[in-house]
Amino acid sequence: MIGPLVNNGIISQGINTLAAVLIGVLFGYALQRSGFTNSRKISAAFYMKDVDVPVVMFTAIVTAAIGLWGMSLLGMIDTSKMYFLPSYLLPMIAAGFIFGIGMAVGGFCPGTSLASMVTGKIDAMVFVGGFLLGSLLFGDLYPIWDKFYNSNGFGVFRIDQLLNINLGLAVLIITLLGVFGSIGMRKLQYKFWGKND
């Protein structure tokens, strides 16, 4: 069965919706069991006190990149039917900076706040409330920033295109970045905070 299953008519929209729930269950389960429902653990990344958050992120990216690339090589997935995110560089850089400030102040990102809220964490419930306000603020006052939001667009723009290299080499580069980034951050954690914290 060649993916994407729903785009190729192998499964119905109803089954696709059910899959969304089940994949969400796997994702939410993994977030909680990785400790990401704890705002102290998430924020500790910004003090290099506990770098599990970036290590999990890098591992997830590398796993998915190798998996998708491998599946496309084996003909298991038709990448032309996959949705690729467009790049709007300056808005994304600015948004990332605001987002990072919000994470260090609030202790969560959206997915972790949802996961944490249902385990009873009151700070997560309040964060979710703030998130709803913040996204309404964006949409209701859209004319103020719509120009910036739509500026500096590159369409689908991948690292292999940026560096003008083979896709496999780009996957290798981000894999090495993920592995050595994780090892390096763990070393810094031990250096600044010792091994037992």
């Binding site: 993916g3 899959a19 969304a20 994949i23 969400g24 269950v25 796997l26 994702f27 939410g28 389960y29 993994a30 977030l31 909680q32 069991r33 990785s34 924020s43 599990d52 290590v55 999990v56 992120m57 591992t59 997830a60 990216i61 998915a64 990149a65 039917k81 690729f84 995110l85 560089l89 808005p91 994304m92 850089i93 990332g96 987002f99 990072g100 919000g102 994470m103 260090a104 102040v105 969560f108 990102c109 997915g111 249902v118 385990t119 009873g120 009151i122 700070d123 309040v126 964060f127 409330g129 703030g130 998130f131 709803l132 996204s135 309404l136 949409g139 209701d140 780009a170 996957v171 981000i174």
Partner: protein, 169 residues
Amino acid sequence: MKKKLWDPIFGGIMIGIAIILTFYISGRGLGASGAMTDFAVWIQNIIAPALNHSSQYFSKYVANGANPLDDYLVFMGVGIMIGSFLAGMVSKDLKFEVLKGPNISNKGRLWYALIGGVLVGYAARLARGCTSGQALVGGAELSVGSWAFMFSIFAGGFAVAYFVRRQWL
């Protein structure tokens, strides 16, 4: 006694598999912030529907009487909550509490949580996604914008960490 956490490498592989599955089954990535914004628009549709219809950004969510909650990501968001609740049950971590460092009051922590939530809610829309749907999924797709977004998140977090250290350390 809470159960020991997963090894971060194992947790990362599980989340990576979840990303592969969404592409293989649904042809798209996973996400979290989209569902939350859908929910915000749904609430606004009850209390101030005119705001949705006059907003160039939100009007597409409710065009022709559409229900903003009828979205793939909303079903996934429900799944995230079910999964985390189950994991909390298994690991005995279901408890009403405020998590914070020892040097701040509960009330102080909740103000920070609110302000952080507003900033992240705004930034997730400006970035067209969050740590899940933009940084992880786009990162795996090798999207240049997603990688720039992710490095900016760490830059923003490190830049402000010193000033909010009383909350956490």
